[in-house]
């Protein structure tokens, strides 16, 4: 019998080795898998390469990983934490900055067995021409640059070749999930979560509500269980997040 629900979060995520590449869902704190991130921190994982849209404006989630010095490299479109940039300019963490749509599509592509695709986003900019510094030396001089992208013209416009991302692990947060790993997200907390879940070789999902199998109608599942390996229940939302109303959204 397939039963992906696990009680012991720490035991589950302890299979993640330091140095792993981890895709993480969420947009800011919306849909961010804090329980799983905290578990990785509590277990002392280090040298991580995160693929995540935001670093976050607070010291929860990815922000916690950053201030605890657990990050080696971040692939993101919008890191906004000042402390992140301090570490980046000091040569302590690398930044692979990519357009948000390219990030979403690279995760989907990796999960879908598409190794590379052409996109117009970022063509002719410093994010694709080899001039963006993705890592600094401790003295503040550039240590390395994002590689220049292969370009090709389609329909008269320049496009760049981008690569699918397959992460060693993925951390996903869902509103509801069942023991088969079927997940459903709520409003814009969906965002990058299904894509991170597709891109992970091994995907952990934390759910706000563990529901009975078949409570989710087959047509209402946003990410089917075939993409999910382990399901845990999310710890209560941190007080820094607004309280979620249960009524309908106007």
């Amino acid at each position: 019998m397939i039963d992906k629900f696990r009680e012991d979060v720490l035991a589950v995520v302890d299979i993640v080795p330091s140095g792993a590449c981890i895709a993480i869902g969420g947009f800011g704190s919306s849909g961010r898998p804090d329980t799983l991130i905290d578990a990785l921190c509590d277990l002392g994982k280090r040298d991580l390469h995160l693929v995540v849209n935001n670093v976050g404006a607070d010291f929860l989630g990815v922000g916690r990983m950053l201030v605890e010095g657990r990050l080696r490299r971040v692939t993101a479109s919008f890191p906004i934490l000042q402390e992140f940039y301090d570490e980046y300019f000091a040569g302590k963490v690398e930044l692979e900055l990519i357009p948000q749509g390219t990030l979403a599509e690279r995760l989907r592509a990796g999960g879908a067995g598409i190794p590379a695709f052409f996109t117009p986003s970022g063509a002719g900019t410093m994010l694709t021409d080899g001039t963006f510094v993705d890592g600094y030396n401790p003295d503040g001089t550039p240590a390395s640059h994002l590689p220049p992208r292969e370009t090709r013209v389609f329909n008269g416009r320049e496009h760049v070749l981008e690569y699918g991302i397959v992460a060693d692990f993925a951390l996903v947060k869902a509103h509801q999930g069942d023991r088969k790993g079927n997940l459903r997200f709520r409003y814009s907390a969906r965002n990058f979560n299904p894509l991170a879940g597709m891109a992970g070789r091994h995907t952990f999902a934390e759910v706000e509500q563990l529901v009975e199998v078949d409570e989710l109608h087959p047509d209402d599942i946003h990410l089917p269980g075939v993409f999910v390996d382990d399901v845990i229940v999310a710890l209560p939302t941190s007080p820094k997040q607004p309280v979620l109303p249960t009524g309908p959204v106007p």
């Binding site: 919008f78 948000q100 986003s121 299904p194």
Partner: protein
């Protein structure tokens, strides 16, 4: 957030002039008149965020947020704030009737696939070739978000900005000196002084704001453009 077209020290700035042209709200109001019923629209930060307040009655526009919201309504009042429903600026929002939610890959499929009628963005600089610089000021903290996808994918890219920067320097330039967001992507520019369209790759002055002369626009613009005012102007 108030406009300051004059500056004390910047040498290339025009001499201190009487305040003319549209306010920031006025720019948003003028732009809103050009939105058509049924348009799917994405708004950047700054003046663009003021546009929805001025959309004419009878014109229904679907607001798209990069994080997967179609049919975004106004910001949520505190008692309805829900961290599961935010805009691309991470502010709690409401939904309008007929709204739909998609994941981030589908959200950008909408953007890149030409399903967005227009994206309305602020700008640091716009060049006479339609290049846009609006994502990064060298030396500051780099973050790009969806800006490069929006300008690459939307059918139309309308810039809403003040005509000159805080030092009085023109923002419409022959070539951008700031890092580009995209090349040859801008289709219209709405400023406090004027409205420009790009047609057949050339920048064209289509309207001056009330009380603004073509000469003043010329004086505060560092881009080459064709004057095509009055009857020649057609959206």
């Amino acid at each position: 957030m108030t406009e300051t077209v004059q500056s004390a020290a910047a040498p290339p700035a025009p001499a201190a002039a009487p305040r003319v042209g549209r306010t920031r709200d006025g720019i948003a109001e003028r732009l809103a008149q050009d939105l058509r019923d049924g348009f799917v629209v994405n708004l950047g930060v700054g003046i663009p965020l003021e546009v929805p307040r001025f959309i004419p009655l009878g014109v229904e526009v679907i607001l798209h947020a990069e994080n997967g919201v179609l049919g975004m309504g106004p910001l949520a009042p505190p008692e309805l704030a829900d961290n599961d429903l935010t805009d691309a600026g991470k502010q709690p929002i409401t939904l309008v009737s007929g709204a739909a939610i998609v994941d981030s890959a589908t959200s950008f499929a909408i953007v890149r696939g030409g399903h967005l009628d227009v994206t309305i963005l602020g700008a640091l600089q716009v060049s006479e070739d339609g290049d846009l610089a609006n994502w990064y000021v060298p030396g500051r903290n780099p973050a790009v978000g969806g800006a490069m996808d929006l300008v690459a994918g939307a059918r139309e890219v309308w810039v809403a900005m003040e005509h000159v920067d805080r030092k009085g320097k023109p923002k419409l330039v022959s070539q951008c000196t700031m890092p580009l967001t995209g090349r040859n992507c801008v289709t219209r520019v709405y400023t406090d002084l004027a409205v420009f369209h790009f047609v057949d790759g050339r920048l064209r002055l289509r309207e001056c704001a009330p009380g603004v002369t073509p000469e003043l626009v010329r004086e505060r613009t560092a881009a080459d453009y064709i004057e095509e005012l009055g009857d020649a102007a057609d959206a």
